[in-house]
């Protein structure tokens, strides 16, 4: 092989870079899906669990637009057949009291940083 030193150095850099996910996790605790704190007062959310899991961010975004731009404050759930206020603080955080033990758990794990908290305050967080 010609230019052995240079080529093997380059290949070593390539292999180290490409196998990063494998060696980076050596010696770390096995990944466990974060456990979320379940609300104590409510049995069900405004929509069913699968829907909330997949669409909660789209729903909150929609609520924000409807409340702020169109002045529509009421959400009629086809799941519970009840009416809720379209409010992160008054509706969501009423049951999911602790942001750190609910929202942040998954968001941190998959490196999502929603900008809800640029404007909204976490009431429990303020007290701490």
């Amino acid at each position: 092989m010609y230019d052995k030193g240079k080529i093997l150095t380059g290949l070593a850099v390539f292999v180290v870079f490409m196998t990063y996910p494998f060696w980076n996790n050596i010696g770390r605790a096995a990944y466990v899906k974060p456990e979320l704190e379940k609300p104590r007062m409510a049995k069900e959310c405004v929509e069913n669990v699968e829907y909330m899991r997949a669409e909660h961010m789209a729903m909150l975004n929609e609520w924000r637009d409807e409340v702020v731009r169109n002045g529509m404050h009421e959400y009629h759930s086809s799941f519970t057949h009840q009416t809720y206020a379209k409010s992160l603080t008054k509706t969501c955080l009423k049951c999911h009291e602790n942001k750190d033990k609910f929202c942040d758990k998954c968001h941190t794990s998959v490196a999502v940083s929603p900008y809800c908290w640029d404007c909204h305050v976490d009431p429990k967080g303020v007290k701490q």
Binding site: M18, Y20, N25, Y31, K33, N61, V112, Y115
Partner: protein, 332 residues
């Protein structure tokens, strides 16, 4: 036709994943075994190809000269375009690898009605290639959030810059837009421009469609048909820590995405996508343009090369030569 053939090939691959992981319930095969095999084929195959290239001799000094060569002291040398030092070669390689310098030279001949030809600068391919490769790199790095716990600050930073316009939720990634636009441009260029269509083969269209399929399936599952992202992370983390588990209910679209990525990884070392490693081993780029100063020794071992001597030549063609009246050393 070649484009359609490639398109159907990608559709067939997506269908395999849909049927396999969706209908037949082979989540472990499509979520763990095939991706791991693909990653192994990619890394090992890539190294093997590069070593093969490293073993090939470079018999001649053939760097491309794109400027004034080092000459008499009062003639200004183009030190990067025609490098005569290792520093110059390294700089030229960096320009090539990071900024695609040679594509920047692209010219487009234009024929006027009176028969005159003009060569005008054409930067679209350079721009499209640059947009494509860099958005692909950012998307690749961003995906490391599924393979690390805790996610490193660098990857979180890339993520937040990429979604800085805060459009919709989940926030729109800018690289998603650039990536799809660039791949679409690179494809349309092959279809629309007649002379490029003429030289385009299946092996040109197939990777483009495959990459477009990967991009679209990723976008589809992020913004439209959402998958259980926490279950996805459980699977990807299990994959890289060898504690393999296939969580239920991720959604078939994820397996389509993952299978197309696996196919890309396996296809990579077998195809012209190897230009990723090949660009560093191009003698036309990585050699020093100082052939007048230093003699380039042909590394071939000449004692092993079989020469076809004149005697052998005459032995081979003697009858025909005599027939045509050509003088021969040994008569028939």
């Amino acid at each position: 036709m070649k484009a359609l053939y490639s398109l159907f090939l990608v559709f067939a691959l997506a269908a395999i994943a849909l049927v396999g992981a969706g209908a037949l319930g082979m989540e472990r095969t499509f979520g763990l075994y095939i991706p791991f095999l693909a990653a192994a084929v990619f890394v090992v195959g890539f190294c093997w190809r590069v070593v093969q290239w490293g073993k090939s001799a470079v018999p001649f000094c053939i760097p491309t000269t794109c400027g004034q060569q080092e000459s008499l002291p009062w003639i200004k040398q183009s030190t990067i375009e025609n490098p005569s030092t290792t520093t110059g070669v390294v700089l030229r390689m960096l320009l090539e690898v990071l900024l695609f310098r040679s594509l920047f030279r692209n010219n487009q001949p234009q024929l006027y009605s009176d028969g005159r030809v003009r060569y005008a600068s054409s930067k679209w391919l350079w721009l499209g290639a640059l947009a494509f490769h860099y958005s692909f790199l950012i998307i690749f790095l961003r995906h490391m959030r599924f393979f690390t716990e805790p996610v490193p600050a660098l990857i979180r930073g890339i993520e937040s810059v990429d979604s800085m316009l805060q459009i919709a939720a989940p926030t729109l990634y800018l690289t998603d837009l650039v990536f799809i636009a660039a791949v679409t441009y690179l494809f349309l260029r092959r279809v629309v421009v007649p002379n490029i269509r003429y030289i385009s083969q299946v092996q040109d269209y197939f990777p483009l469609f495959l990459i477009l399929g990967i991009g679209l399936s990723g976008i589809f599952m992020r913004y439209f048909a959402k998958v259980d992202i926490m279950a996805v992370k459980e699977l990807t983390m299990g994959l890289v820590t060898f504690s393999w588990k296939a969580p239920q209910g991720i959604g078939a679209i994820f397996y389509v995405h993952l299978f197309l990525v696996s196919v890309l990884l396996i296809y990579f070392p077998l195809s012209k996508l190897m230009h990723m490693g090949g660009v560093f081993l191009s003698p036309t780029r990585n050699m020093n343009c100082a052939s007048r100063k230093f003699r380039h020794i042909n590394p071939w071992k000449f004692e092993n090369v079989h020469y076809h001597t004149y005697e052998e030549y005459e032995d081979e063609f003697r009858e025909k030569m005599v027939e045509k009246g050509i003088p021969v050393e040994k008569p028939l």
